[in-house]
């Protein structure tokens, strides 16, 4: 971890959402929030923008579509024109199923691959957990201690309104 973090541990969904909203509006820099499941509304509370992976998906799907169109036209009418029942070499309607399947295949695999690259998830990656219960029943908010003016007590006071379980700095976590 590059930045010095200060962590607050909570026990349920509503508390973490409210704590995140309050922390964000109080002007602290939220490094990240850790939850055992996807909590809806939390990304808004953190002020995250919507992901651009949708565009990656569109680009990959378009690539798959073009692959399907050009591969079939090239194979069917340029490289080896084959007369099947006297039908035209360029029979687009017959090409649609394969075009569609390739669109879905390339779009789907592409967006999953993009996500793994973007979120830096890969097999065997070493794990950093802010709290041992974060994949079970704990919700953790991590704020960055930017400068000397950062007052842990003030943050802790803010969090205590939302049933804070414990507040800690990551030195205790790493141990």
């Amino acid at each position: 971890m590059d930045a010095q973090l200060y962590l607050g541990v909570f026990g349920n969904e509503d508390d973490i959402v409210n704590a995140t909203l309050a922390t964000n509006s109080a002007g602290y820099t939220i490094h990240d929030v850790y939850t055992p499941y996807a909590v809806h509304g939390l990304e808004k509370a953190m002020g995250l923008k919507s992901s651009r992976l949708t565009w990656a998906c569109l680009a990959f799907a378009a690539a798959g579509l073009l692959l399907g169109v050009f591969a079939q036209f090239w194979i069917g009418s340029i490289d080896w024109p084959l007369n099947v029942g006297g039908k035209p070499f360029n029979s687009l309607p017959a090409y649609l199923p394969v075009i569609f399947e390739l669109t879905v295949l390339v779009g789907g695999l592409g967006v999953v691959f993009s996500m793994l690259v973007r979120t830096e998830l890969y097999p065997g990656k070493s794990v950093w957990l802010p709290d041992s219960g974060v994949t079970n029943d704990r919700f953790v908010i991590a704020v960055e201690q930017r400068d000397a003016a950062f007052d842990p007590d003030a943050v802790q006071r803010l969090w205590q309104q939302f049933n804070l379980i414990e507040a800690k700095s990551p030195a205790e976590v790493a141990g």
């Binding site: 349920n12 509503d14 959402v17 409210n18 909203l21 309050a22 509006s25 990240d32 929030v33 850790y34 939850t35 055992p36 499941y37 996807a38 909590v39 809806h40 939390l42 990304e43 995250l48 992901s51 992976l53 949708t54 998906c57 799907a61 194979i75 490289d79 080896w80 084959l82 099947v84 039908k87 090409y95 199923p97 394969v98 569609f100 399947e101 879905v104 779009g107 789907g108 695999l109 999953v112 996500m115 793994l116 979120t119 830096e120 998830l121 890969y122 097999p123 065997g124 990656k125 070493s126 794990v127 950093w128 957990l129 802010p130 041992s132 974060v134 994949t135 079970n136 029943d137 939302f162």
Partner: protein, 471 residues
């Protein structure tokens, strides 16, 4: 009768669980040793699988002359099994993708196992065309790749080739979708694993997941995108399977109703299989609070709907055969209902259309025994549907001198049984080694209809509160 009214909806998960309890409940199955019952079921499934492997090896060595096919009936058991298994798979994708897009949050208790079912069913399905090729070791010739035979390409106008693309895309996307859904749960297991080996395996397979919301946010985006891609995909797969028949000129196959008819039938049979598996699993694995009677009832409603569509399709086919004034079309359908395979046709109609009407009665939809028996009846009926469509349409062709009957050989029956062996062996292994219920997703619906932790609005969370009510 006393009734308790609440403005909140009924919780999806019963038993007032805490988050930790859900983890414990699901992980317990994996952390305790296999039960005797599991071993018993596994031994039976595995033995049947071995029989299937022997049968398949034999027919690959000797050739598909070991089947009961003849000059007139060129497709029968094998393609029936293929279509049957592909159809079974469709329910998993419907639950994981379509119900997700429609925000049917009850899907979370069953989506993991239904998706596993999809993957295994598609594997079972894939085996049949592979054997049917006769020389399965040359199966890769169906893929268009630059080769030294010309290069000689595949025929992109052939529905059998479309099928190859559809099934392989379906398998790949289903597998990826399933695995992506598994990653957070594998991380949960990693963080509670005791033994070194387990920890190492989960560490590799969980991709370093730590529950970061930045990651969750992207993960959810990809999940929606995959669902949106898988939805038209699943509709396309059985549509393309139906085109194997519909693009031919055989009376009984050559109908435009086939794609929607096949898709509805696939979902119908798939949900029946999901019910068969879930009713056993919820009892054996003690998941009654997760897979509740409400879940079963909802699945019964899906069955009732898709079964209705299937019934309508049967009637439409009959009507069109009469209305078309095409003597060959008429003959094909009269032969179907009254010919030598009438027993198969009427088995199909009783199992798929008549008996499922019992599900209109709420009491029966909530009776485990009735639903379990019904699910098996429907699976038998749907197997027969494919058999009827395939065999009765071709066994009496245009030339009465070439009319023939079809009877499966023991080898073919052993192969069908073997595919069930493979399916159940894979499913039992899944239930032992992979969380049967999507832990992360079930936690997400825990607060559904149960907002007891909700405190009065504090700072500026009025918007938040509105959202909570909308859910």
């Amino acid at each position: 009768m006393s009734m308790r009214y609440s403005i909140l909806r009924k919780p999806i998960i019963e038993g007032d669980k805490s988050l930790g309890q859900i983890t414990d409940d699901v992980a317990r199955t994996l952390e305790t040793g296999p039960t005797r019952l599991w071993w018993f079921a596994f031994m039976i499934s595995f033995s049947v699988l071995v029989v299937g492997i022997a049968a398949v090896s034999y027919q690959i060595k000797v050739g598909i002359g070991t089947w009961g096919l003849n000059k007139t009936v060129g497709w029968a058991f094998d393609i029936t099994n293929f279509v049957f298994w592909v159809g079974i798979g469709h329910a998993g994708t419907l639950i994981s993708a379509i119900l997700f897009l429609f925000r049917q949050r009850w899907r979370t208790s069953i989506n993991r196992s239904a998706e596993a079912m999809t993957v295994f069913a598609v594997i079972c399905a894939g085996i049949f065309p592979l054997i049917h090729m006769g020389r399965p070791w040359l199966f890769f010739w169906i893929a268009p790749y630059p080769n030294f035979r010309g290069p000689l390409w595949v025929n992109f106008r052939s529905p059998l080739l479309w099928d190859f693309f559809a099934i392989s895309t379906y398998f790949t996307i289903s597998l990826v979708f399933w695995y992506i859904g598994l990653i957070p749960d594998l991380a949960t297991l990693r963080d509670r694993a005791k033994s070194k080996i387990k920890k190492a395996v989960y560490r590799i397979t969980s991709f370093g997941w730590n529950g970061s919301v930045r990651t969750w946010h992207r993960y959810e985006t990809v999940y929606i995108l995959l669902a949106a891609l898988a939805t038209p995909l699943v509709l396309s797969v059985h549509s393309i399977v139906s085109m194997d028949f519909a693009t031919s000129v055989i009376p009984g196959w050559h109908t435009t109703i086939f794609p929607p008819y096949f898709v509805a039938g696939a979902i119908f049979s798939g949900f029946a299989m999901v019910l068969t598996l879930m009713i056993i699993a919820r009892k054996v694995l003690n998941y009654q609070e997760y897979i509740t009677l409400d879940h079963i009832e909802k699945m019964c409603k899906v069955i009732l709907t898709t079964g209705g569509i299937v019934g309508l399709a049967y009637a439409t086919e009959m009507f069109m055969a009469w209305y078309s004034v095409n003597e060959y079309e008429r003959f094909a359908f009269i032969n179907r209902a009254l010919g030598p395979f009438a027993w198969a046709y009427w088995t199909m109609v009783s199992c798929n259309v008549i008996i499922p009407q019992l599900l209109w009665i709420k009491k029966l939809r909530r009776s485990i025994v009735v639903v379990f028996l019904m699910s098996i009846v429907i699976n038998i009926g749907m197997w027969f549907e494919r058999f009827v469509i395939i065999v009765t349409s071709i066994h009496r062709d245009f030339l009465p001198s070439s009319w023939a009957l079809y009877k499966p050989t023991l080898i073919e029956i052993a192969t069908l049984l073997g595919s069930f062996g493979l399916f159940f062996t894979a499913f039992l292994l899944f239930a032992r080694f992979i969380p049967f219920i999507a832990i992360g997703e079930v936690k997400g619906v825990l607060s559904y209809g149960r907002r007891k932790n909700h405190k009065p609005a504090t700072i500026q969370n009025s918007e938040q509160e509105l959202e909570a009510v909308e859910i």
